[in-house]
C-alpha cells in the first residue's frame, strides 16, 4: 500500500502536525519508503496467531483504589507555557 498527497495531509492533521504544501511530496516519499519496507509482513502466515498484548506473561497489577498522591498543584503547572493561578491557559475552545 502507498499513500497519496491527500492522505499525507489527512495523517498530518490527525497527528496534529502542521505540514506546509512544499513538505508534502518529501514526506509522501519517506512514508511510502517505510510502508514499502513493512510490506514484507504480508508474506507471513498469521492464521490463528494471537496478537501480542504483553511481552511478559504477567497479570495486570492493580493497586488499591485510594488517593495516594495530590496537593501538588504548584508542581503540576510549574512547566506550563501559560497559566493563571493553578489553571492552564489555552485559546478559546468553546464559542
Amino acid at each position: 500500500m502507498s499513500v497519496d498527497a491527500a492522505t499525507v495531509r489527512r495523517i498530518a492533521h490527525l497527528a496534529r502536525i502542521a505540514v506546509s504544501e512544499d513538505e508534502v511530496p518529501h514526506l509522501q516519499g519517506e512514508l511510502n519508503a517505510m510502508l514499502a519496507f513493512v510490506e514484507q509482513l504480508s508474506e507471513v502466515n498469521v492464521e490463528g496467531v494471537e496478537p501480542m498484548t504483553s511481552v511478559t506473561p504477567m497479570q495486570m497489577k492493580k493497586r488499591q483504589d485510594v488517593v495516594n498522591d495530590g496537593e501538588i498543584a504548584d508542581d503540576i503547572v510549574a512547566n506550563a507555557p501559560a497559566t493563571e493561578g493553578h489553571f492552564f491557559l489555552v485559546p478559546k475552545v468553546v464559542e
Binding site: L31, E39, V46
Partner: protein
Amino acid sequence: MTDLTSLTLAEARKGLADKTFTSLELTDAHLSAIEAARVLNAFVLETPDQARDMAKAVDEKIAKGNAGPLAGIPLGIKDLFATKGVRTTACSKILGNFVPTYESTITSQLWRDGAVMLGKLNNDEFAMGSANETSCFGPVGNPWRRDGSNTTLVPGGSSGGSASAVAALLCMGATATDTGGSIRQPAAFTATVGIKPTYGRCSRWGIVAFASSLDQAGPIARSTRDAAMLLRSMAGHDPKDTTSVDVAVPDYEAAIGRSVKGLRIGIPKEYRLDGMPAEIEKLWSEGAAWLKAAGAELVEVSLPHTKYALPAYYIVAPAEASSNLARYDGVRYGLREQGRNIIEQYENTRAEGFGAEVRRRVMIGTYVLSAGYYDAYYLRAQKVRTLIKKDFEDCFAKGVNAILTPATPSAAFGIGEKGGADPVEMYLNDIFTVTVNMAGLPGIAVPAGKDAQGLPLGLQLIGRPFDEETLFSLGEVIEQAAGRFTPARWW
C-alpha cells in the same frame, strides 16, 4: 589526578573504600575531563555544582562507614531520565526548558546507592535514531576514529552521548535506554559494554516514553563487571510502573567469573546475512570459539521469523510513539507556538517542536492505527511479534541457555553518511538487536575486536527472560579473551 578517570568502576570503588582518594577528587577529575571533551558534544547539560555537593555528602557517608554500593561513583544520565530540578529534554525542542519536579525511579535508586550525577547526556530526539544525529543539541562525536583519519564518526544511537562519554572516560558509567537497540548498538560502536535487561526488570517510571511495550533502561559501562554493578542498583520492582516485575534482583556481580561450562549457546543461522562483512563473520566465529574454549557447547539454532522483526518493529514502535507523544500539546509543559485556535496551536507547536525523524514516526504511527488500516498493519505486526517471541521460546525449550550473534552489521560510520535519502538505510543498523526488544528478552553487547580500519566491533548475547546473570558470565568470558579497547585521545 586525571588518571582517576581511567579506573574501572570496580577499581574506583576499591580506591574510595581504601581512602586512596575521595569522591570529590574522583568527581573533579571527571568534571575536568568533561570540560576538555566538549567537542564530542556528549553532555547536553553539565551539573558540576550538584556533582560536587553530592560527592561531598557521600564522602561524609564513606567516612562514617555507611555508604551504599555505588558510593562516590560519578555517572552520566541520559537526558531521557527525569531528574528533579535539572533540565530534562529528551533532546527535543518540544520539551524546551522542562525542569521535572520529580525524579525517575532508576536515578533515585542510583542516588540512594551513593552515585554522583555529572550531568545529562545527549541522545537521539525521544530516543528515535541509530546515530545520535536527531538530537536538537546536534550530533555526538565517537571517541573512536578510523586509523589515520580525522573524520568524526557517530557513536551510534539513541544512547550516543552515554556510549561516547563512557568510552572517552568522561564518566564511569551511564544510564541508557533501549527500544530497538539503543543501548547495544552504541556500546558496540564505542567498545563499551551495554545491557538491555528483560522487559520489566527496570522501572520505566520517570523515563520519557517512546514505545512503552519495548522501552527498557540499562547501563553502559567499560566492563561487564561495571555493568553488573550498575544494573543491580537500577533494577527492581516499582509499584509506579505496572509492567515492572516483582522478582528479586540478584547480585549480578557474583555472576562475573562464574563458570560457563556446559552452557548451551545457540548460533542462529538466520543472522548470517547476505553481504555481511567478512570481519563481522570472523568476529562471530572467534566469539563462538572463545565460549567453546571456556567449556560452553555450541549448537546451531533457527529463529525463522528474524527477518520480519525490523518491519514489525517499524509498525509497533511508531504506533506506540504516536500515542505517547500525543501529550506534547503546548498546554501543560514545553514549547507553545501560537495559532488562531487550539487545533492550530497544537499543529504549530508540534510542527515546530518535533524534529524530522520524530514527525515522520508519529505520522506513520498515526497512519497504521487509523480506521481501516489498523488490522492490516498494527494487528498483523502484533501477531508477527508473537511468532518472533515463539521462535526464541522454542529455542530455549530445547535447552539453549543463550544465543550469540553479532551486535551490529557494521562498525561506526561518518556523521551524515546514512539515511539521508532513505530512512530505512539507517533503520537496518538495528537488524540484530531489535528482535530482542520484540521478544522482551535481555541482551548484552560486549566489545570483541576491531575491523581493518581500527574501529571497534561488538558481539551480542541474548538470554532467557530474567537470566541476565548468564549474560554477564558469558560476556566476561568474551571480555577476558578479547581484552579491553581504549580510544586514542584526539579531543
